[in-house]
Symmetry: C2
């Protein structure tokens, strides 16, 4: 078994098209021996967002702190706050945004380990 | 996409041998269309614990509130507090315990959907 605290996990930048102000932490993943799913944590700074995109794998999300939104295909914003859970199905167009002007928006994004 | 708040999710008792004082919430699972992994939340009342057991699937855990311990095969206690992450590998003997005398111990336990 492995027990891990978030502040022990290295933060890396996310430099892909459509991303603004995001860092990533791979909290539990392939290198820990997970058989199926990996846990990543993303921190979006104020103004930060992910691409408005789609992919073949699902997301399982848990909001850890801050305030944000999960945008759907039409661009409609579903608000997210600490303690909320979200499921984004495979091939569903989506985008995460930090909607606070002062606070980071931090959330778990679990995915199949091949996509970690 | 689905957004869900924990207090919208029904709590059910867990009545299996070795369990004391646990309720379960299936926050995101097969009935929501998850392709691979399900998110469950367990609440252990003071004195509550899971069985000291093993199974063929892994756990991915995130501690939401309270104080507890993840016991290993030898019975050694690994303390867990809010914000901690844990990984229990397949076939690893383990037990979750609430170590507070006053507060609930609440944690996410994500598993392959077949085990939800």
């Amino acid at each position: 078994m492995i027990i891990r605290k978030l502040d022990q996990v290295e933060k890396t930048g996310v430099d892909i098209p459509g991303v603004k102000g995001i860092t990533k932490q791979l909290v539990l993943g392939s290198s820990d021996g997970v058989p199926n799913f990996s846990i990543r944590v993303f921190t979006l700074e104020p103004g930060g967002h992910s691409p408005h995109h789609t992919h073949e794998v699902e997301h399982l999300n848990v909001i850890l702190s801050g305030q944000g939104a999960l945008m759907d295909e039409s661009g409609a914003a579903n608000p997210l706050i600490q303690g909320d859970f979200a499921f984004v199905a495979p091939h569903e167009v989506h985008q995460f945004r930090n909607t606070s002007e002062t606070e980071d928006f931090v959330f778990i994004c679990a995915v199949p380990k091949e996509y970690e």
